[in-house]
Symmetry: C2
Subunit: 170 residues, 2 copies
């Protein structure tokens, strides 16, 4: 759905959906949490038409979810990184992830509290430490025997344990 406005709905849910409700948008944000930062990494991992990816990245930057910077190592390249508001979308992402796991099919990855290694519960909290870790404190690991068949840089980086928000090196 497009950032099409739900103008008449005086509701913060409608406001949220205007910025993250379009097709592909939340998957792009997910990949940003996984550490994707470059145009081609998003594109290769998502199999999304470049024109759509370009449009969504522009929108996410305008809406303050991503920040676009120069890549210090490569002139003329850019990096897209989550802003504070973008990182604050983690509970939304996790709630959807957990719902899909319960009612659809478990995904190929699991999320653990980096500090103690416990698997997060349905609410995203660490059952052992009794806290709800921020994304920086979470590590995602593939379920045993479920490594992805994909060959793009993001999929390869996620074959082993990976801390959220840690940039994948390409």
């Amino acid at each position: 759905m497009l950032g099409k406005d739900y103008e008449l709905q005086d509701c913060s849910l409608a406001r949220s959906l205007e910025t993250v409700g379009e097709r592909w948008t939340l998957l792009i944000v997910r990949d940003a949490f996984y550490g994707a930062r470059r145009f081609n990494d998003f594109q290769a991992h998502l199999d999304i038409p470049k024109a759509v990816l370009s449009d969504r990245l522009t929108g996410l930057v305008q809406d303050g979810i991503l920040e676009r910077r120069q890549d210090p190592e490569h002139a003329g390249r850019h990096l897209y990184e989550l802003t504070a508001a973008g990182r604050d979308l983690w509970p939304v992402l996790y709630a959807l992830l957990a719902w899909g796991t319960r009612h659809r099919r478990p995904g190929s990855r699991v999320f653990r509290h980096a500090e103690c290694g416990s698997q997060l519960d349905d609410a995203g909290a660490c059952p052992r430490c009794q806290i709800t870790p921020s994304p920086e404190q979470i590590v995602t690991v593939p379920r045993r025997g479920r490594a992805s068949l994909r060959e793009d840089p993001v999929a390869i980086a996620l074959r082993g344990p990976h801390r959220l928000l840690e940039p994948i090196d390409t």
Copy 2:
């Protein structure tokens, strides 16, 4: 975004988005939590084209989010009600609602634990009782002075406090 499949993404987030990621879908689910059950109530409150509403309701029923029943009081009419899987979407809805409130604009309503009256925190928990109430235990009340200008049955029912999932009578 359509229930268009994100087939290649082996991820429960993608699975979730296939069922609730289309335009309008989460707003329909929100209205179902507010107690809307009839076609016309959804249509009047959302300003959604009837063809799209019909399509989305059919999809939500097929995906096990809503259940379609005969209206016992009116032959030939139907009621759409949330299934257990649909009610389990509450954390997703609340996470989006809370994000929109923090980063966009506060909506016109507020959510309280019915039992004690405390306003829920950003995670949807009751700060006084230290529990996370299920939707049945939550009451939504308009923010002072922010009653909706709409005149449809759902908007009217929500002018006062209203317990989630309690059917609005039309």
